[in-house]
């Protein structure tokens, strides 16, 4: 096997990015990673190439293509489903540096950057749980909120669990409606589901549905209710109705990987990018919605608790009931 990582000419580091199957244009995961590299290109002078796998089967050949080329100082792989491919690549190219974004898998010689879905959506859940009974002008008396999934995938279900945990943490009696669109590219259906939920009394809806989520915002605007964004900050899309976004700064994560490479601090192993690291969380920036002071205080307190490790979040739907029973605000 040709190995390149050793021979390092004095040229700008070159990065290979293997996106996830959604591809560019998702204004989310993939676009943010791309942004991160663009920023790195400007700030750190690196060069990069990227590939868009069409299906999970493409992960292996595309990673291998980068590794075989021997000219990439770092491969950045997006999404946990690249695990099997990376294991194999690592075996054949032990010296290839690989950063694995959004995975907590431990692979010898790979730097995995783990994010916690639950931490991403939890605080929005708290806002929703408090907001639904609050005096906020678009909230109603119903003690109901909702969460909408693009497709039923395990990691997304973790996000749902985080949101529900957040709601129940402050409002155990709140009814959380759940539904799955069945596609990431169907905003029309996303809107219908959201309308249905709003109609059944929900006043805050968190979406984890990619482009289908754009329909949720549209619904929020139409019936004058609240919604939460996900991924990159989406608050500007409907600033009067999007209260906050469950942020995940994939761009920063990717940028950090590159800057670690450039400054020589890159090392294999598990990196946690959680709320504590500022990589996930919640942002109200660009939103015109004013949260009552009381809610903001509670959110802040909770955030501190999580960062301090006093509050450990559940990571699956199954763990929810017992977690809720054990963890209540107050």
């Amino acid at each position: 096997n040709k190995e390149s990582a050793e021979v390092k000419p004095a040229k700008a580091p070159s990065i290979g990015l293997v996106l996830s199957t959604g591809g560019l244009g998702d204004k989310n995961f993939n676009d943010m990673a791309y942004e991160g590299l663009q920023k790195a290109q400007e700030a750190l002078g690196i060069t990069f190439d990227y590939v868009e796998p069409k299906s999970p089967s493409d992960f292996l050949p595309q990673n291998r293509m980068f590794a075989e080329a021997g000219t990439y100082d770092l491969i950045i792989a997006l999404g946990n489903d690249q695990l099997e491919a990376l294991k194999e690549i690592k075996k054949d190219f032990p010296n290839q540096k690989i950063s694995f974004i959004d995975s907590s898998a431990v692979i010898e010689g790979v730097r995995s950057v783990s994010t916690k879905w639950a931490e991403q959506t939890f605080l929005c859940g708290v806002v929703a749980g408090l907001g639904t009974l609050s005096t906020m002008d678009k909230a109603n008396k119903e003690n109901t909120v909702g969460v909408i999934l693009g497709m039923d995938f395990p990691n997304l279900r973790e996000g749902v669990a985080g949101f529900i945990a957040g709601v129940k943490y402050v409002n155990p009696d709140c009814d959380v409606l759940q539904a799955t669109v069945g596609a990431f590219n169907d905003p029309g259906k996303g809107k219908e589901i959201a309308l249905s939920m709003y109609n059944r009394g929900a006043d805050f809806i968190q979406h984890i549905a990619g482009a289908s989520g754009l329909g949720v915002f549209n619904a929020a605007k139409q019936v004058n209710r609240y919604a939460f964004g996900v991924g990159g900050n989406q608050n500007h899309l409907e600033p009067d109705h999007i209260v906050a976004t469950s942020i995940r700064n994939v761009n920063d994560m990717v940028y950090n990987e590159v800057s670690a490479l450039v400054d020589g601090s890159w090392s294999a192993g598990l990196q946690i990018s959680g709320m504590k690291e500022g990589a996930v969380g919640y942002s109200t920036e660009y939103s015109n919605v004013t949260l009552p002071e009381s809610i903001r205080t509670i959110v802040e307190q909770t955030r501190k608790k999580i960062i301090a490790g006093e509050l450990v979040l559940p990571t699956s739907m199954e763990a929810l009931p017992s977690w809720t029973a054990a963890n209540q605000y107050k």
């Binding site: 039923d152 539904a179 905003p187 029309g188 309308l195 249905s196 109609n199 059944r200």
Partner: protein
């Protein structure tokens, strides 16, 4: 908690209406195409192009009405393309339809990249505004159904179009401009499907998202056939689909895995197909030209 009578039922009905509107329009388009003897597997491409052009038109002109016109024209463009391929170049109609579906997805994505520098979604554009609880396009689609039925079954144009679809050779021998009627069929088809797509992007929403028709064109094909290529039947066929889709939304999150709940409209369709609407025969001239 939720009052079934005052909340759930109206909500499901409104949902049914808004989910079946694009299906009615596109399936109605399919009726014209099939009645003229051209299979309409390319409805998806017409809807998608319609949806895209509508948003593009509204984006450039900042006027949703111009957007609607553009959406209709976009659908017609694809209808024309389908027509040219099937009529002039005698392409297999299944392949033309499926090929155009792939092509429309690729080109709209490409154009988004070129126009908006993002291949995922467009910016928000001015869209239709109205105070009614459901879209005026729904009423318009019902009117269009009635007009279509009148046009097909009560006018000379309709008679000739059907004759062309049933037996192009006979129609030619009666002195009809067979190609003209076939093009009329595919163009009307494109216009209606384009309007269906426009509904999705410019009425129901205010943006275009890559592949946002999400298979509705194929469902419209199903409805078109299930309706036995009859305008009025498209209403209830689309209604059944839209209704079961609305119902499945309500049933979600009640412990049943979502994949199974989501299959509800499809399972219902399958039952209707097996036990309700048997032995559907398309016009005899579908796929034939006047030279066969």
């Amino acid at each position: 908690m939720v009052d079934i009578l005052t909340h759930l039922i109206p909500s499901v009905l409104l949902s049914t209406i808004s989910m079946s509107t694009p299906l009615i329009l596109a399936a109605l388009g399919g009726v014209f195409s099939v009645r003229a003897g051209i299979m309409a597997l390319g409805l998806e491409s017409m809807m998608m192009t319609g949806a895209f052009c509508a948003v593009l038109g509204s984006y450039l002109s900042q006027s949703p009405l111009i957007g609607i016109v553009c959406g209709i024209l976009g659908g017609m463009l694809l209808g024309l393309l389908h027509g040219v391929l099937c009529i002039r170049y005698r392409v297999n109609q299944v392949i033309s339809g499926i090929g155009l579906n792939l092509l429309a997805l690729a080109t709209t994505t490409l154009l988004m990249q070129l126009v908006w520098k993002n291949r995922g979604s467009s910016p928000q554009v001015p869209s239709l505004e109205y105070a009614a609880p459901f879209s005026p396009l729904f009423l318009i689609s019902l009117i269009l159904v009635a007009i279509s039925a009148f046009l097909l079954f009560r006018t000379k144009f309709g008679l000739r179009l059907r004759m062309v679809g049933e037996n192009p050779k006979a129609a030619a021998s009666m002195g009809l401009r067979v190609h003209g009627y076939k093009y009329a069929g595919t163009l009307i088809c494109g216009a209606l499907a384009g309007l269906g797509g426009t509904y999705l992007s410019l009425d129901h929403l205010n943006m275009f998202v890559r592949d946002m028709t999400a298979g509705r064109g194929y469902i419209a094909v199903v409805i078109n056939i299930l309706a036995r290529y009859n305008p009025f039947n498209t209403i209830w066929c689309a209604g059944i689909f839209g209704f079961s889709d609305a119902v499945q939304i309500v049933f979600q999150g009640k412990g049943v895995p979502p994949q199974l709940v989501q299959s509800l409209p499809y399972v219902v369709t399958l039952f209707v197909l097996a036990f309700g609407v048997k032995h559907i025969t398309p016009p005899a001239g579908v796929g034939k030209s006047e030279e066969d």
